[in-house]
Structures are given as C-alpha cells and as structure tokens.
Symmetry: C2
Subunit: 350 residues, 2 copies
Amino acid sequence: MHSRPGTAPTIETIARHAGVSTASVSRVLRGLGGRPDTVARVRAAATELGYVPNAMARSLRGGQSRQVTFAMPDIGNPVYIAMVRRIQQVVRAAGYRLLLHSTGADPAEELAALRALADRHSDGLILCPIRVTPAHLEELARSAAPVVVIGSVPEEVPVDSVRADSVTGAELAVRHLVAAGRRRIGLLNGPADTVPGAARHRGYERGLEVCGLPHDPALTSFGRFDAVSGEAAARDLLARVPGVDALFCANDLIAVGALRALRGTGRDVPADVAVVGVDNTDLAEACWPPLTSVDLGSQERGRLAAELLIARLDASGRPPVSRLAVQPRLVVRGSCGSTAGTTATHKEMS
Amino acid sequence: MHSRPGTAPTIETIARHAGVSTASVSRVLRGLGGRPDTVARVRAAATELGYVPNAMARSLRGGQSRQVTFAMPDIGNPVYIAMVRRIQQVVRAAGYRLLLHSTGADPAEELAALRALADRHSDGLILCPIRVTPAHLEELARSAAPVVVIGSVPEEVPVDSVRADSVTGAELAVRHLVAAGRRRIGLLNGPADTVPGAARHRGYERGLEVCGLPHDPALTSFGRFDAVSGEAAARDLLARVPGVDALFCANDLIAVGALRALRGTGRDVPADVAVVGVDNTDLAEACWPPLTSVDLGSQERGRLAAELLIARLDASGRPPVSRLAVQPRLVVRGSCGSTAGTTATHKEMS
DNA sequence: CGCGTAACTGCAAACGATTACAGTGGGATG
DNA sequence: CATCCCACTGTAATCGTTTGCAGTTACGCG
C-alpha cells in the first residue's frame, strides 16, 4: 500500500544520510557541480532512499507549477479530442503536465477556468470558448497567466490565438455541393449565438451568394452541436422542405445525426441528398457513407496553440502577440457524390 | 496582458492593507471566526486587491495537491473518453482537479505514471493498464499515493480496482450471435498479450463451447485495438474463410474497421455477416448499420473508480480494499439482425 | 612560503500559506 | 472592584526546495 504521510524522504534526509548540507544535495541533484566524492555520496543516498523531489515545494519556490490547462466545450466531441492529443504531445515534450477542463460550453465555466489561473496552480491556459462575451474579454485582459485562445478574439484584445477560418470552410462546402449539382442546400447549424455557429452561417450564405443561388431562410435551422439535435433538426427540415437535395452540417456530430434522419425517412445519401460535415473527425471515416467534411485543422490548431503557450511560458522576453489562422480544407468522401478536393495551408496573420 | 511575477497580492499584502496579522487573514478567509470589524476589513482588502490564495503554497503546507491523475491507454478510443467524462464529474465535485495522461498503451509510460506519484503533484491515480506485468504489480505495491486500477489485478495485490467482466461480455455476444442463427463466428481481437485481449478470447471460446460449436482457430485473428487494424484483419479473415457469417470484434473501433471491410468486399451486414462490437461507444450509434455492442459499463467504471479514489483520499481511516466488478450488458442494434437484449448490473465482490 | 584565485560548501533566507501557542483585551460574575 | 473566562489576535514555526552570500579549502604560481 502507499506510504504514510511524513514517510517520504526529503532533501534533509538525504543531506543527513550523506553528511552534507541540504544546499549541496539540491545542487548535486540538479547537476550544478560538486566535488566528485560529494556527488557520489549524495547520489548514493538519494537512490538508496528512493528520493524524489517534492513538486509542490519546488513549484512554490520556483514560482511555476509546470502545469497547463486545456479548457474545451465538450469532451464528447471528437474534434476536441484531436486537439487534446496534440496539445498533450507538445506540453509533455516541454516538461509540462496537462490539466483538463470540460466546460460544457458554459460561459460561466469558461470564466471560472480563466479566473482559476489566479491561484497559480497552472502556468497557462489554452481556452476554446464557443461564445465570447464582454466578460470573457475583460477576464482575458486581466488574466493572471498567459492564455492562448483557440477561436476568434477581437483585434483589440492582446492575446495569442489560433483560429480556424470557418467562414471560408463553410463556403468551400457549399461551393462543392453546388459544383456537384445540388441546388437546394440546407444548413443544419449549432446555436446562432456562438462564434462557430455565426461563422458557419455566414460562410453558408456567402457560398450561396457566390454561386448565384437564392438564400431561402426556410432551409436554415439552428440547434445544438450534437448528433441528437442534428437528427431532430434534419427530420424537421426534411418535413418542412421535402425537396432539399443537400445538407451542410455545422459539425460532424450534426452530420451523423442527419445521416440517421435521412435513412429514417428513406432517402439515399448521396443520391437523394448530399451531406457535408465540419471538423473531419474520426466519425467522418466511421459512418456510412463516409462523410465529406471540412477539415478546420483541429490537430494543427491544437499543436500551434500549445506551442504558442509554451513559447510564452519559456521565453524570458515577452514575445509579441501571435494571431494564427489555419486554412480550411475540404476532405471529400462518399456522402456528397463527388471526388474533387482541395489542400490545406495555414498562414500567419499578424 | 497577464501580470508580472511578484505582482500578485499575498496574504501578507492583505494583512498590511487591513492592519492585521497574516494569521488573522488566513483565519478570516477560511471562515474561522474573528471579530466582526476584523472580518470586514480583511474581506474588504481581499476583494479590493483581488486576492486569491496560492495553490502551491497551500499544497505544500497542507500536504496535498487536490489533484488526481487519470492514465489511460489511448485518448483516441471513445471508451476512455466516456470514462474521462465521468471521472471529471466526480473529482471536480469533490474539489479535485483532473490531470490527464494518455500512455499509448506503453507499459513504460504506465509505470512512469505510477512512479510520478512520488513527487506528490497528484494525490492519487486512476490507472487503466492494458497489460499488467510483474513490474506493474511491484510499483502498485509500493506506490506513493492511492491508486485505483480500472481493470483486473491479481487478488494478492491490495489495491482498489473496478473491472469489467469481459469474459462474460464476450460470451454474451457469441451466444447472441448463435441464437440469431450464426454458426461460423470469427473473432477479431486486439493483441493476445493484453488483459482485455486475453479475456475476450476466453469469453469467445467459452461462448462457442456453451453453444456446442466447434472452435476453429482459423476464425481467430489478433491485431491492434483500432479501426485500421480491424479493417485489415477482417479482410484477411474473409479471404481466408469466405464462409464466415458473423464477426465478434474485441472493441467498437475494430468493429468499425470490420464494417468497412465487409462493405469493401460487397457483403451485406447483417444479412451476410453479423457484427458485434465491444464497449458500446458513441461510434456504435454513429456507424451503419448501428452496431450491436457489449456494454462493459465504461461510464460506471469511470464513476466508481473516481468515487473509490476520492473515498480513499478523503477518509482519515483507511477503508478496506474494494474490488468492484461491473456486469456486461448486450446492446442490440442493427448489425446483428436480431432484437433481444439483456440488462446491466454491477455487484461488489470483496 | 605567501598570496590570489577558483571551486566547493554551508548557513539562512526566501517562496506563501496554515496553525500551535501564547498573549491581549473585554465583558461577565462574584 | 477583583477575578475569571473566553474570544480574539499576533508571533513564529512549519511544509520542502532553491539560491545569494560568505566562508572554507585546495591549488598554482611567483
């Protein structure tokens, strides 16, 4: 069983055991010189007693916890898992531990995550908000530790960020559907008052406009960013406008729900209705037909965000604020009855 | 931007500001009495200066970090996400933060997670190992902080654990397939030398035996626990034994791969080949046809593990070792051409 | 042999909070 | 008015580590 409190050897134990001062133990163990015999004795004592430095004491003294937090809306959405994976890679390589915080897309929880930085348990935060309220901006401005936002923040807030170009992504999807001969393209969106919801709506309208198609509000529906909501919204829309020949879904979860609804109402995908999702998650490969999806570079956003944060933490000088954007890429699969594709890039913007 | 180091107010700052000692500040802020005017002054100073107690200092003094770690094999597998979600719920409710560690099913990483407890950055660990080596048992026995294992550990290791009954789960699946009229049932397994791999293999054999079917080793294949491996294994098996009429897959990822292979070789599911997965993840609902899957109670295992850990952390007395087991349950969907089901229970075993 | 220099070492002060202990005051009681 | 009690407060030690500073030692060189 695990050791009783007060049992673990401290630097003091080692010092007594090796007949030197605690200062020497610390120095030897951190590799800062020492006479060969001292080094040997300390090393020996340390291994013999199985000494491990106390991380909390070290953090207190050193002023940093070597931990970073990732706060995301919903751990059930595979797109965030993709981010977590990359973030974990980067931060672990840099010697940081990763704390997780699934906020449930609740602004209050997001603010809590930001405010929690004040207690210094975390050296930095990667925040993936889905709505950005004035309160967010306020807290971002006075945050106690560096924050990197995955998403869009107004220019005037001097915070590192990595955003996807959702608008262009949605436009890409619509144009692809039009190129494939679709004319009555529905939009199954998430909540209208979220940043991604608004952006994808805008991109959808822009896509229609560019292609010279009319914008029929009856083809647009708002719900949540999950499969259950997606299925319900699709059924609704299909009932309301039976002639729909394509559905652009604001994320892959919604798309999966839509596929279910389409099967449930006896339509073939892609023959009767084409479907396109967003995020290019593992789900897109798992479902049937395989889902054409707009890849918003979640992996890359995760990696970049983590790298930005680490850079800011490790840099002694204050690097200038970075605002990165990742370019969308359409990954064509079976659900839209077509085969053309585009490729991804990301570019730095400021 | 975030505040420069040394800027944040400490208990000392508040003390000076309120004209009292640091002890009084601490007491007031922890709600341990005080004269009304003192309380008022301290509270006022604290809010005015935006004081937040330093978590590291508190941890050092208090001897606990109020953090727990969850180490799992693969964050890309939705079954572990289901666990994370529940674990996070429980530990947050108890006032703990959650650290994440995806080990990549690498025993060395798992051992590292165990040993990392020695630096006291985490008060406890929930470990989900996929192999259990003697080294694991050794480290478990001398771990520096409480550990709860999700999975099977030998009786003689006195560690809290929550296990699924994979053997019975696999047996359930096979019996169901036989009841649905299948006779040549293949097994697409993960690695043979893993605990779940071995258990599911055993359950598969037991199922065949109980139903009086011959056990043909040609129908069994071992690979990894992911979709790519599942697809390859399925193609192999189908080429080797064209007459297979059912595939029992050791997890949902493998099953998703198998579905792809079946479609690729022009077979209908469930008409030609029935498919059953394990874990009942979100994927089972997302794919087509919807996947019949053995629910091994991942959500409940996550919850129970977290509760066990919290109980051991908060309890002053040492609670006896708990070994919980969660009962499997078959969730029938379209992929096996049948409609009967069973229900889940879990029971305490020691 | 004396001196300067360099390497090593130990003491003690931080880091920021909690808390045992002792002191202070006020009010109630005799 | 003296006494006791109690609630409150402050001092200082403590958690375990790192690190500035000063003191020690050894060694090379003139």
